[in-house]
């Protein structure tokens, strides 16, 4: 009596997972044909690899101080891919060096002369 019930439950669970995977693919314009339908995350990974243009994704390491972390999800230019961010960061670094030069030229550093 239990065995048929377990089989039906297992079948229903598998169908549910498969259904979720299909719905997930449909919501992202398909593209899951190459991936196994075993789990949603795998399907989405396959989709990303198949359909995304070769635009650099946000780097997992340091980002410029003025970069917007959510830029990629809001449709704004990707912070790490935008040359403007690199230019501004470069200028910030130049200003830091300039501050160092000014500090080093102060009379307080005269060394007792």
């Amino acid at each position: 009596m239990n065995r048929p019930v377990r089989s039906v439950t297992t079948l229903a669970a598998a169908a549910l997972i498969l259904g979720m995977a299909v719905v997930g693919c449909a919501g992202h314009n398909g593209g899951a044909v190459n991936g196994p339908a075993g789990s949603t995350s795998v399907v989405q990974t396959a989709r990303t690899g198949a359909t995304e243009p070769p635009v650099p994704t946000p780097a997992p390491t340091a980002t410029p101080a003025d970069a917007t972390p959510s830029a990629g999800s809001t449709g704004a230019p990707n912070a790490t891919a935008d040359p403007l961010y690199a230019m501004l960061t470069n200028l910030d670094q130049l200003l830091n060096g300039l501050n160092g030069s000014l500090s080093g030229s102060e009379t307080g550093t005269s060394g007792g002369e």
Binding site: A76, L98, L102, E106, T109
Partner: protein, 253 residues
Amino acid sequence: MKTRIPALFAGLVLGGSLLLVSSGAVAAVTPPGPGPAGKGVCAVEATAARAGATVETLRAFGNCEINRRLATLNDLSARVSSSKVLTGSDAAALTAEIGSTRAGLTSLKATIDAETSIPALKVDIVKIATNYRVYLLVVPQVNLVSGSDAVLASQARFATLNTNLTARIAAAKAKGKDVTAAQADLDKMNAAVTAAVGLASPLPAALLPLTPAQYNGGTAGPILANARTALGKARDDLKAAVADAKACRDALK
């Protein structure tokens, strides 16, 4: 004898940092780059020379003061050679000045090493500071010329930034977006850069020819002070320019 000891200490004060070191009168400012290379590194020698002015103690003090200046010059030299903003001619001029100062101090060290007379040593020790002005002239020269050239180097970077932002403004305008604020920010950025470059441009030519003799005569000090003030204003202009660029970028979002 009563007049010789005070004269000795007067010479030490002029030539190095004996009294300043012992009294702690020098402000405790730690520069980020080449600086005094440890104002207190000769404290032991200074104390010994003050306690008993002999040829040995004076020689040790003089050599210590020379060595710390040579260390500072080595740091400055490395900084000049690795600089990404110094122009070739300015770097060459600073390298030459550092080299001649190093050669002079090395020669003076040999003189001090060979000296056996206390009065002559007193004169030599005074020369460590007055003939070379490492901390009052050479270090500020390197810093201020480097800073000036950094401002000038920023001009090309801001020009690239201007090109980028101008294209963005044009694209936004083509899409019907109001770009008045963005254009105003960009104009402010360019004006600030022009002002900064105008302040920094004349500085290297004014700073590089300065000599220890001019410093001792009181003419170099005001030039250094004015250059520091101008460079500070140029720095503020560039900070404002960066802020304007960011405001322009944000206005286009």
